[in-house]
């Protein structure tokens, strides 16, 4: 059933009639069958890019969009054969669940028999077979989003476009639906482009993540690359939490407090050192460690977040899975594994 397609975005920018530059000129290749996540804060251009692929917006002159080798730039959304899932679900309130899922098939004049079979198959896939005759306003948010997914996939689109599909749902449901969507996309083997501002969602779903900021693509990489080797401070900050540590570099050694770590050979001159909270280890002695005072602690269940004042202005965040007292105002010694040190241009 898979008709997944590679997508090429060539020199596409978007300027709105009022002069707003929503997207700088970008190039992007989407591999057939992959799930690509466009991640960034609101206004970063990720939705504009997605809508361009859908055909709901057209790129500025010179931009081209290819589905496989077919240039679809001039095609309206009606003929592109994409599936789109909206943040607001956008289900037709005047139709039942089954009629919504079958809508694209009805438009394609698929014979009644085959349409019915496909709708049943789709509803089974999203585990909503029992609700096929329900009206949309009788469904919960999570059920609505599953109907929207089934409707988008039912037409075997060349690419599935998801615009913040989980944003309107509560945290718990978001997490379980995330797993459902992931399973579904893998099973369908469909090319999917997923827009979100939620880094956890991006990590969980993306084969690759495209981090965007101010209309530009800042980094493209696998979730681990994005997290462990961010291209710049924006990516490091946006994807998870990160500490900036001030130190001195001398003779190939970086010093901060009592800690002395080898300065990477390829590190930029005057680079900023960043360490993720979970990469800071609690030690027992001051030697070779950065020492500070514990100013706050938050028990989060699977870990405890500590705020440590090491005399550098902003407190250092430390995530530990150790069970301990963590008495406030006590001395804490932090150790850094050199491998976890992120050095970025200042």
């Amino acid at each position: 059933m898979s008709t997944s397609t590679a997508i090429s975005i060539l020199q596409c920018g978007k300027t709105y009639p009022n002069g707003t530059r929503a997207l700088e000129t970008v190039d992007l290749e989407v591999v057939s069958g992959e799930t690509l996540v466009l991640l960034g804060p609101s206004g970063c251009g990720k939705t504009s890019l997605l809508r361009m692929i859908a055909g709901l917006e057209s790129p500025d002159a010179g931009g081209r969009i290819l589905f496989g080798s077919e240039d679809v730039t001039a095609q309206p959304p009606e003929t592109r054969n994409v599936g789109m899932v909206f943040q607001s679900y956008a289900l037709f309130p005047n139709m039942t669940v089954a009629q919504n899922v079958g809508y694209g098939l009805r438009i394609r004049r698929l014979p009644e028999e085959r349409r019915r079979a496909r709708v049943a198959e789709m509803l089974e896939m999203v585990q909503l077979s029992a609700l096929s005759a329900r009206r949309i306003d009788q469904l919960s948010g999570g059920q609505r989003q599953r109907v929207a997914l089934a409707r988008a996939i039912a037409v075997t689109p060349r690419v599935l476009l998801l615009d913040e599909p989980l944003t309107a749902l509560d945290a718990k449901l978001r997490e379980s639906l995330r797993v459902d969507i992931d399973t579904l996309l893998r099973k369908a083997g469909i090319t999917a482009i997923y827009v979100t501002h939620d880094q956890a969602e991006a990590m969980a779903l993306g084969d690759r993540i495209v981090v965007m900021d101010h209309g530009e693509i800042v980094q493209i990489g696998s979730p681990t690359q994005i997290y462990h080797a961010p291209a710049n401070a924006f990516v490091a900050d946006f994807v998870g939490s990160v500490n900036r540590l001030q130190g001195n570099v001398q003779d190939g050694v970086w010093r901060c407090g009592n800690a002395a770590l080898p300065w990477p050979a390829d590190a930029p001159v005057g680079g900023v050192v960043m360490v993720r909270p979970e990469d800071l280890r609690l030690g027992h002695e001051a030697a070779g460690a950065i020492s500070g005072t514990l100013t706050a602690r938050y028990f989060l269940g699977n870990r405890t977040r500590l705020l440590v004042d090491i005399g550098q202005g902003a407190p250092v965040l430390v995530d530990t899975s150790e069970r301990g007292e963590f008495a406030l105002a006590s001395q804490v010694h932090l150790r850094i594994d050199p491998a976890t040190m992120i050095v970025l241009p200042a």
Partner: protein, 276 residues
């Protein structure tokens, strides 16, 4: 608690009393009286029967309801297209155009009738134009077409405003979703826009129908060749002092219009589930 509840009910009753008194004095009593008067003539209840069997009355009834239905239909089609266009497009002069479009709302029916006479009466613009073009003067004002135009004129502004309000609430993502699923513009109108506007169209259409059935000023100015129901009632009442028939006609007019409104309301409630 129960003491409180009783107090609450009493208070509610006291607050409702003026409305109830008003309803009784100015709706229920006159209506009962009207129904009674309708049956008070020499024929008794037969007056109601005669209204439906007498050729003159029946013709007038049919004319009125068919005319109103046609006006309603035309109004809905025109206003729906115009309202959607005005809601979806921003262009210079749009707010001015909107203000001008709602202008006829302020006109009494007589003025509307007057305007129609100016437009397509014997000395009207259309008459002059057609005479110049074909040598034959086209006079529509005093026929059914004149009434049709006049009614259309005062119906359109109301419906346009209602359509615009409903279109504003239409989630545009629905249209985009339909487009990505392959729907053509016409299919989108059929499957998304009209169902979304349905309740607004039915309710404003019903009001348009009721207003047309009861329109008097315009009819009074224009209806020289045909007699619509309000004119008929006026004539029976003032010229022939045939008060029972006037009352019976009024009751029939009221009942039919009310029935149409009620039907529209129940259909509007169902379209949401039945459509598609």
């Amino acid at each position: 608690m129960s003491m409180d509840g009783r107090k609450h009910t009493l208070l509610l009753g006291a607050l409702m009393a003026p409305a109830a008194a008003f309803f009784l004095a100015f709706w229920l009593l006159p209506m009962a009286r009207l129904v009674g008067v309708g049956a008070s003539g020499p024929q008794g209840m037969g007056a109601y029967w005669s209204v439906l069997t007498n050729q003159n009355y029946l013709t007038s009834l049919i004319y009125t309801f068919v005319l109103s239905a046609l006006v309603t239909l035309a109004t809905l089609v025109i206003s729906c297209i115009a309202g959607l266009f005005l809601e979806r497009n921003r262009f210079p002069g749009r707010s001015l155009l909107l203000a001008v479009l709602t202008f006829p709302l302020a006109f009494p029916g007589v003025v509307v009738g007057f305007l129609i006479i100016l437009l397509c009466g014997r000395q009207g613009l259309i008459g002059d134009l057609t005479k110049w073009l074909t040598g034959e003067k086209l006079v529509l004002a005093y026929s059914l077409s004149g009434l049709f135009l006049g009614y259309l004129y005062f119906s359109i502004p109301r419906v346009i405003l209602t359509v615009m309000a409903a279109a504003e609430k239409l989630d545009y993502a629905l249209v985009e979703a339909a487009r990505t699923l392959g729907a053509s513009p016409l299919q989108i109108v059929r499957d998304v826009t009209l169902p979304a506007l349905g309740p607004a169209l039915v309710s404003s259409g019903a009001i348009c129908f009721a207003t047309s059935v009861g329109a008097f000023g315009t009819a009074f100015t224009l209806a020289t060749n045909i007699t619509v129901l309000p004119m008929l009632i006026y004539n029976e009442f003032t010229n022939y002092a045939n008060i029972p028939v006037a009352a019976a006609l009024s009751v029939v007019l009221g009942v039919v219009t009310w029935a149409v409104l009620a039907l529209a309301r129940s259909v509007a409630g169902n379209t949401v589930t039945v459509a598609a």
